[in-house]
Symmetry: C2
Subunit: 407 residues, 2 copies
């Protein structure tokens, strides 16, 4: 019997009524002739409540105990989901991460999945049970409870699908799928039927928050196709899969934007080996998360280095960069918030020239000034004034022919 893994996030299981809805959908899937494994997150709000409790007994709860505490969230959901399925007359059994055979390394609060032994799941599926697996958690070889960090339940679903060689993995969420651009900004944005792993990775890394990159990377690594779809309706979602070689690909799949960015420019950085390293080692040690880095060719022995980050990260900087700039004998340090990033993504741009030209052209014609440019093989990103980002998204969406036709 074909195996389907269905993952439901915190909003989808956010109340007993919603858990009943999830149970109905799962039963339908089983009745349609599938073996079903369900992966669930903690009910929305539960994790925050637990974190609040922890703060009342400790300013800095240890990671190990935080994992023991947070793992109760998903354990609660698996039991309730199994009960809801029983109410509908289905055979169902709940499994914690440990019981499901999800083995991780020992990095508490952000453990990596080391191995999955799907023996228990297979056994229960063979007996006709629907298996409800707790997302986000696992255990170490020594039996310690671990959690997988942000987006961990998606990762559980994809890893379980990989281990079972499942026929499909469905990620149910509160959006309908992956769009060509955020529909709140570009009203003509369309839901995509298909997107490739690499494209979704570039979209995700550029602010389209459908899934965490690590889950997509995991799916890509183990070749698990999955579908992102809504738990609140029956519409088909977006299938995410491997690029098929030898086919013509769409040049631009979608456009993603990220607001609330800031940039730092250091001028006249001496063009000597090790200076860039000095700057970014200091940033890394201060746990500042950097996004785009741009350095142009050196003119007369010195160069300018610019990098972007979120505004929150800029606040963490303090005098760090000024200090480093002085040490390495650089010129001025300029910090500026209020900028945003627009990314155009598509596997087809590998083989098509002219994408950059078309982007710069349409933005220029619309009076949008480009401050920085950064490209990858399948993405072009530009940094612009935040106030212009919506207009820029609409201009690019139209320029690349992504607008939905008349209904």
């Amino acid at each position: 019997m074909p195996i389907v893994v269905q993952k439901f996030g915190g909003t989808s299981v956010g109340s007993p009524e919603r858990i009943m809805n999830v149970a109905r959908r799962v039963v339908e899937t089983q009745r349609a002739g599938h073996s079903v494994v369900v992966v669930v997150s903690a009910m929305s709000g539960v994790t925050d409540g637990l974190i609040k409790l922890a703060r009342q007994v400790s300013d800095q709860p240890t990671d190990r105990e935080m994992d023991v505490l947070l793992a109760t969230g998903e354990q609660t959901t698996i039991a309730l989901t199994a009960m809801a399925l029983h109410t509908l007359g289905a055979k169902a059994i709940s499994l914690t991460g440990a019981q499901a055979g999800i083995l991780t390394n020992g990095t508490h609060t952000k453990a990596k999945i080391a191995n999955i032994s799907p023996r228990q799941i297979r056994k229960h599926l063979k007996e006709g049970f629907i298996c409800i697996v707790a997302g986000f958690q696992g255990q170490t070889l020594q039996g310690h409870i671990t959690t997988l960090g942000r987006g961990g339940s998606d990762l559980t679903a994809i890893a379980v699908a990989a281990a079972l060689r499942a026929d499909m993995c469905e990620i149910y969420t509160d959006v309908d799928g992956v769009y060509t651009c955020d529909p709140r900004i570009v009203p003509t944005a369309r839901k995509l039927d298909v997107i490739y792993y690499d494209e979704l990775l570039e979209m995700a890394g550029s602010g389209a928050k459908v899934m965490q990159s690590r889950s997509v990377e995991f799916a890509k690594k183990f070749q698990v196709p999955f579908e992102v779809r809504s738990s609140f309706n029956n519409n088909r979602g977006t299938i995410v899969k491997e690029e098929q070689h030898g086919l013509e690909h769409v040049v631009v799949r979608g456009i993603s934007i990220e607001r609330n960015q800031a940039k730092v420019t250091i001028t006249h950085v001496p063009d000597k080996p090790g200076t860039a390293s000095r700057i970014f080692t200091a940033l890394s040690e201060a746990n500042v998360i950097i996004d785009v880095i741009v350095q142009n060719v050196s003119v007369s022995g010195s160069t300018d280095i610019s990098f972007t980050m979120s505004n929150d990260e800029l606040d963490k900087l303090g005098g760090l960069i000024d200090h480093v700039a002085k040490e390495i004998g650089a010129g001025q340090v300029m910090k500026k918030g209020g900028i945003a990033k627009l990314s155009v993504v598509g596997i087809g741009m590998r083989s098509h020239s002219g994408v950059a030209a078309k982007l710069f052209d349409c933005l220029g014609a619309g009076g949008v000034n480009i401050q920085m440019i950064s490209t990858s093989e399948i993405k072009i990103a530009v940094i612009i004034e935040e106030s212009k980002i919506e207009e820029a998204a609409r201009l690019a969406h139209t320029a690349f022919g992504l607008d939905a036709g008349p209904a």
Copy 2:
């Protein structure tokens, strides 16, 4: 280093502040030179909240999933308690029932402890950790999560103390210890320094709700001495231990009462083999919990059988007994609520005659009519009108010299 097991119930860990208090007490015990194992219950209210959630997805949640759900309660407490201990600078590690090596049979929601492998606990104690163990829960050999039913955390504490051959097991609760009688009824009641297992068993079975009988039985079986004491002050509590042979024992240790009882009398039950069995088999099949049973010698081929139960159980009876009485050819069935039981308990009464006489005498002198009498080796119980129970308790307390002297 001497090992101490300390158990804290739901009220004692009912809020983050109370968990901090528990942590302070545990650290003091460690600093006094002990290896400490802490057993905790779910925070008060949490279990009820989980049951309420379950009812919203199922009228009859399965026992297995109920266990998965309820086990999150203690798991939350162990993590918070470990965090609180870290805040105080102590080394501490939390262990779920499964991690602590508590193996049970597969009877979900009222599992029996089959074995404890204290390997993990011993290892962590040796490394200087305080071990925080989740009470009330364990796992089966197949890895299913189980719970031990009512009073399960006391049982965990005593079983862990037995497995570790601990030097002491302290049961922290919201009362100061075991009293000669309920101080709300008999103001002169005294806290006992010592009580024997068998005495506490008779007291518990007679309504003194300090601990569930099964925990006391377990302690008796494995010869684990324990102390019942308050988590809200530093007073010494009551030590519960094995009777010491060859010593003179107090004749009467205490008096316990149970209100809200009912009795059923079946008259003219034919004195033939199997009739009593017919009655009590029917009651057992209907899950009616019976307390005292009294049958007097048969006069002219028939006898009267009386038995007591709580008023709630009486409500469950319906027409059951009338039906059975008819079948066996008995006479009338009389049902009556509004009665209560008074029990006088003491190991010393084995070797002292006159206890019954003194009890009947003092009650008679006080105008308390005795409706039924039942005795065990170390207990005499009488059934009286509920309205007279407080007066009867005070009369007996004085008659047996249990009143506290002037302070």
